[in-house]
């Protein structure tokens, strides 16, 4: 299945905006580990959004999902 991924801030060093081809049944946790090489990158754990909704790591992804990785927000 195909998942569209995008990452912000420090995660953009590791993950460009792209479509990845992955196996069916993949969880958000699996995808984060594939993309970042672990559940954090440079000491920062990502917040994950799937189709613009905040997601936990156990969610099972579906074909066509859009996944966004962000660090803690930094408004102001």
């Amino acid at each position: 299945m195909r998942i569209k991924v995008k990452a912000y801030s420090v995660f953009s060093e590791k993950v460009g905006e792209r479509v990845v081809e992955v196996d069916n049944g993949l969880t958000v946790r699996d995808l984060v580990e594939i993309l970042l090489g672990g559940l954090e990158y440079r000491g920062v754990s990502p917040l994950v959004f799937v189709n613009k909704e905040k997601s936990d790591l156990n969610r099972i992804l579906k074909d066509g999902d859009e996944v966004i990785l962000t660090p803690p927000f930094s408004g102001g």
Binding site: S9, R42, V44, K52, F73
Partner: protein
């Protein structure tokens, strides 16, 4: 009934104080409002002894506007406000340029000032906005409120 206006603005889009005041005043025809609290955020020119060249903001625009709207409605209900505006700017901003404007209109300072402070704290934590600080000693991602990580390039 509360008037709420939230926007993610590009660097080129101006923010007019007069229009903010008139928007809030026009939304209050019975003149319940006794005060408007205003916060204007600016890019600082010095951080940790280094010169800031610019602060590059990015956001997830639709999620940011949704989050700001939720904050505005919740704060207005908590403090019985008549109007809340939150305008967050994105793009590459230089020291002294405006990053954020928050205006809250309510009955008196007793509700307006704490509402303003609480709105600001929530915007900093709950709105998906991200910063890359360009400084004389390199580029730094700002994570959360103040953690800085040197940007890796190449």
């Amino acid at each position: 009934m509360v008037y709420v206006s939230v926007k993610v603005l590009n660097k080129e889009e101006n923010i007019s104080l007069d229009s903010i005041i008139s928007e809030l005043a026009n939304a209050d025809p019975d003149h319940y409002v006794g005060g408007i609290g205003l916060f204007i955020g600016l890019v600082k020119g010095k951080v940790n002894g280094s010169t800031v060249l610019s602060l590059e903001y990015s956001s997830i625009k639709d999620l940011a506007e949704k989050a700001m709207s939720q904050i505005a409605y919740e704060i207005s209900e908590k403090y019985d406000l008549k109007g809340v505006l939150i305008y967050h700017r994105v793009g590459d901003l230089k020291p002294g340029e405006t990053t954020l404007v928050i205006a809250v209109a309510g009955k008196s300072r007793v509700s307006v000032m704490p509402a303003l402070a609480e709105t600001l704290e929530r915007v900093k934590k709950e709105v998906p906005v991200f910063k890359l600080e360009h400084r004389s000693d390199g580029d730094y991602w700002i994570i959360g409120d103040s953690t800085r990580i040197p940007r890796k390039t190449g």
